[in-house]
Amino acid sequence: MKRYLLRRLARGLLILIGVSICSFVLADLARGDFFAEARLNSRISKETIAALREQYGLDRPILWRYAHWLASVFHGDWGFSLSYNMPVGPLLWARMQNTLLLTVSAMLLTWIAAIPLGVWIASTGARVNRLLSWSAVAMLMATPDLLVVLVLELIATHSGLLPLGGMISLEYSQMNVWDRVQDLARHLALPVTALVLSSAPAVVTHTVSAMRETLDSAFIRAANANGLRRGRLLFFHALPAAANPLISLFSLSLGALLSSSLIVESALGWPGLGRLMLEATLQRDGYVVIGVVMLSAAFLVCGTLIGDMLLYWADPRIRRE
């Protein structure tokens, strides 16, 4: 196990190095840099721009910049953001917390809601129930997340119950702790709902197909014949046996924690990593783009690693190999 884990870790590290090289080369290929717009401004002289570029090291060769960036990663700086005029590291850190607050709560809700629903759909005998719930799930699956966000926004506008965008109210700094929590929760409601609605169908369908397979198997029929209670049978006997594909899916959504919320964030004004990425892309703030890509790639790699470990722990068949 230990050797396997070490090998996987080394592989993950290698992938991340590869990702960093790729994103550096990509960023280098980009036409125009952060000062492209300043160059159009006649009041800023060419010499000033050249001096600025030199100051930030933009005129150096790519290898020098890469080495420099690597060193700054170890210092926790992750390069320098030109549009925010500060090191990228602290910026990423703050934005990552916001995104994680959003995506982790959405993920918890999704799994808490979707698994029982999937188990119920798989086990229900009534054809009507199955058909109705199934078409609802298919419908949601076919609804683009963009539309989900927009419709939720529409509902919020008309009801006026929930704030439409942002993460905190203007008066946030003057509130006491309890009010702050409430304020945050009110702002969270809309984006979290959007994320849950767009990610739950996949979990439900996976649960259903895994459970159907398991419920057909002999040991479940035997347990049923022995008179086990239904709830116990479904959740303690069938669900663990059907867990493998769910664990794989779980590790995928764990890995996508930083990258799944881009559309929701940008449409609802949540100050997270996705929006930072979008703005940095438009402003050609190279190191921020690289930082976000690195961070979310690291999450994806860790997600698969954790998923493999969970599978190892959950399935004795894999352990033996």
């Binding site: 076919a142 506008t157 899916l249 783009v289 976000v292 790639a297």
Partner: protein, 326 residues
Amino acid sequence: MSRRLIPIVWLALLHIAVIGADFFAPYDYTQQNRSMPFAPPTRIHLIDPVSGLLARPFVCESTPVTYVEDCSRRFPIRFFQRRLFGVEEPAVIYLMGSDDFGRDQFSRFLHGGRVSLFAGLLACGISLGIGLLFGAAAGFYRGRLDDFIMGAVELSLALPWLYLLLAARAILPLNTDPSSAFLLIVALVGIVGWARPARLIRGAVLSAREREYVLVARGLGASDAHLLRRHLLPQLGGLLATQASLLIPRYILAEVTLSFLGLGVNEPAASWGNMLAILQRYHVLASYGWMFFPALLLIPTFLSYLALTTAYAPRNQVNHIGALPL
């Protein structure tokens, strides 16, 4: 049978309407009517208000800004006069309402479909093409080549898809004319998504090349090219079809998302994404419900692709349909 027929019919109709947009759309998609911004969908009257009987379909003139119907003069809908249908000025026929410049949303929807639907199709072709090339090569030749290609696959799968798309978009010029923006997006989306099909195709080739008839053919001295062409690639048809019906809607959505965020096809060209972008303004979102039409019509389209995937995928493959996070 209808489970397969309905989606195919819907997709066929949509594609025909989109290809023939110049004929089916009542207006030019750039034609502005500045006096009628955000006009609601035009009501089509079928009943004669005086006699109460069925009449030839007609529309009424409506006042600018307030959009109150004035039915003192009737404007019958004329069919097959250069375009499929239309009405005489000063009346207008906006089936899906109009946008902020008073452009017909229906005409823009049809023309935008050209961009969005074909972006999906072409990008899927690129992805599957690259995937086929590298996947089949890796699975067939094994060895170093396999290691190298699978390393690249792992690397690209470690990158979040949408972020990679954005980062790659950052490299390319933002202010381009619509047709080159379209080609850029198609190429980007297609290339970024190569890894997953490549891995699946490699797996399929890998298992197919160990089959007995392939071994026999090889033993009888068949060349690599012959083996690939006659025995291995024909096995991949089903896999490619299911992958295509999975990838196309994702890629359509990718174009819609990019254009929605302002990184895709720009005005004045229409795409479903940039038609929806106007909903980012709160007053539009809250007051002009008909601006949602392009997004709403995506649902039956995606449902059709979903139905095709589930209808044609082998049972064990259906498992993985939802497992593709953006």
